[in-house]
């Protein structure tokens, strides 16, 4: 029997993996992957909780919108990273430091 707790634990694990990927930052694309993982963890949560919301299904609807918005922001993010690569010939955020105090 898979209960709500299982879903929550899995999503918390996915969120932590995503957060680690972001914080380890060696490659801008990997950071985007980490962001995707974090968003998917949240979506999993929404769908799991949405099972108990039989009136409005807000959780399911929110999950759908979150998927669309995540896709849009990743598309913009990839375009911007491509633009950065053209200027710097690298996408390692640690080496792109013209702007700093």
């Amino acid at each position: 029997m898979i209960t709500l707790t299982h879903f929550l634990v899995v999503s918390a694990c996915i969120f932590c993996i995503g957060l680690y990927t972001v914080l380890a930052k060696r490659n801008a694309i990997m950071i985007l992957v980490g962001i995707e993982l974090m968003i998917n963890a949240a979506i999993l949560n929404f769908v799991a909780f949405g099972r108990y919301d039989k009136i409005n299904y807000s959780g399911q609807v929110f999950a759908l919108f979150a998927i669309v918005l995540a896709a849009a922001s990743v598309a913009v993010g990839l375009a911007i990273i491509l633009n950065v690569y053209r200027h710097y010939k690298t996408i390692n955020p640690d080496q792109i430091t013209d702007l700093r105090d």
Binding site: L8, F15, V22, M38, N45, F49, S58, H87
Partner: protein, 502 residues
């Protein structure tokens, strides 16, 4: 099946009835599409096509927003809430966009950039997002609005770096965009996770509803703390308070100056209104999560004012200095939120309007000088004050307004906020609020030192060569002078502005 059909027809009826509530935003969406079409087909023959569509759209939208004044209504099953606060906020947002449109046009003209039709349409898309932020109390709408605004802002920051390939400016712009997009997406993802937890506790997405508050009261302390802090990550990113301010200096310095003008003023108004509603609803109880929200915002307000103003002291680039100054002002805006009594938003709206006008004025001057002397460094302004007295008098006046000294509107704004906070302190006798008050006063004094660097360099230092008399041929110049006059006028007659909000 029978029941379902009747249900659908009532649902459709409700949606049809709600459409007029959404009219201002529908006009903006139409203008957005018209602006895209114009940039594709009309701009070759009539250069100002897309700009004109954007202008007409914004003005029509403002007209219909104004028509909603004085009536409280809801639409789309409570997704949209029109009240006086949202009407004023949207009028401020639309009004501030007008000078920004002209500043962008001037920037493109100065740098010989063609094909910038899309930038106006992206700006309109951002406006739709900001308008939605001010009229919604539903987390789904709020999240969509924040993402619309964020994605449009990323594109705005990076838009010009394609046009000037190979130059140093384009390189810096692309770096600023990358930092912005990565930081913004992470904050949005963390906020989404927090929202999913809050949805789990409450089963409801409307953050002012009773079910939502009850769910938060019943939630375990640790989990509700995590969820609330995660949600504040997303809002904190849009407002730019500590510790989510890290993107601000880099993006403000790297972005084209008119875009920096936009980022530092208009989205803050929208995020502030959302935060005001959230704060009012979440601190209305005496339970754990209300105390946490109150404590968090107070502490963050204190730290934000200190960090912003102290780091601004050692900046030599005006755009970067203004970025830290805007962080400091965000802390002050948090103080305005804490002190604003419910149903009286005059103080908050007055301060945010004044802040936006003076910031636009300063950035317009920075843009004008950047074009004429090719630098945003403070040292490059040496000696220019004597040859361009009017411009630098206005610059100094705007600096005085940002510090909050009389006779400018900045003084009146700060006075109103301090008075309201002091009243709150006398009412509650809370030590954190007293600390907030002291920090606000202290950091206003600190800010004096870096704003006065501008007249120091311009009037008292001598430049290497003879300072040139700059030609007055830019819209930016007139916008800056207009902002300076507005600051004096509203400072001497504050009722002109505060009378609009009551």
């Amino acid at each position: 099946m029978e029941g379902l059909t009747t249900q659908i027809s009532t649902l459709l009826d409700h949606i049809m009835v709600s459409i007029p509530v959404f009219k201002p935003e529908l006009i903006l969406i139409t203008a957005f599409i018209a602006s895209i079409f114009s940039s594709l087909f009309i701009d070759q023959r009539w250069k100002q096509g897309s700009l004109s569509f954007a202008l007409v759209g914004i003005m029509l939208s403002a007209y219909y927003v104004h028509a909603q004044l004085g009536q409280t209504q809801t639409g789309f099953f409570g997704m949209l809430q029109i009240d006086a606060l949202s009407v004023y906020a949207r009028l401020i947002i639309l009004g501030l966009l007008l000078p920004i449109l002209f500043l962008i046009q001037q920037y493109a003209k100065d740098n010989g950039i063609k094909n910038l039709g899309e930038i106006y349409s992206i700006l309109l898309a951002a406006t739709v997002g900001m308008n939605l932020l001010t009229i919604s109390t539903n987390w789904l709408m709020v999240f969509i609005a924040i993402e619309t605004l964020s994605i449009s802002s990323y594109i705005l920051v990076g838009y010009f770096s394609e046009n000037k390939k190979g130059t140093e400016t384009a390189k810096i712009q692309s770096e600023a965009t990358m930092k912005y997009v990565l930081f913004g997406s992470v904050c949005a993802a963390v906020m989404l996770y927090g929202l999913s937890l809050i949805y789990g506790f409450t089963g409801n997405l409307d953050f002012i509803s009773i079910a939502h508050i009850q769910g938060l009261i019943a939630a375990p302390k640790v989990m509700s703390s995590i969820a609330i802090l995660f949600v504040f990550v997303g809002i904190g990113f849009k407002l730019g308070f500590v510790p989510f301010h890290l993107w601000t200096p880099d993006v403000y310095q790297g972005a084209p100056t008119p875009i920096t003008t936009f980022l530092s003023t208009v989205p803050k108004v929208a995020a502030l209104i959302l935060f005001q509603r959230l704060f009012e609803s979440w601190t209305s109880t005496l339970f754990y999560f209300s105390e946490l929200t109150m404590l968090f915002i107070t502490v963050v307000g204190i730290v934000t004012m200190l960090v912003g103003n102290l780091i601004a002291l050692r900046q030599s680039d005006t755009k970067r200095m203004m970025a830290y100054s805007s962080i400091g002002h965000t802390g002050f805006l948090l103080m305005a939120i804490i002190s604003s009594a419910s149903a009286d938003y005059t103080t908050l709206l007055f301060y945010v309007t004044v802040y936006a006008i003076m910031t636009i004025g300063v950035f317009a001057i920075i843009q004008f000088l950047e074009k004429n002397i090719g630098s945003t460094e403070l040292a490059a302004y040496s000696g220019l004050g004597k040859s361009n007295p009017l411009l630098f008098t206005v610059f100094t006046l705007l600096g005085i307004a940002l510090i909050g000294l009389p006779p400018t509107a900045g003084f009146i704004g700060k006075l109103l906020v301090f008075t309201a906070t002091f009243d709150l302190y006398q009412h509650t006798k809370d030590i954190p609020i007293l600390l907030l008050l002291i920090t606000g006063a202290l950091t206003s004094v600190i800010s004096l030192f870096y704003y006065f660097k501008i007249p120091l360099f311009a009037f008292l230092r001598k430049g290497e060569s003879t300072a040139p008399v700059l030609p007055v041929n830019s819209v930016a110049y007139f916008i800056a002078v207009g902002c300076g006059i507005a600051m004096l006028l509203y400072g001497l007659f504050p009722n002109l502005l505060s009378g609009l909000f009551s």
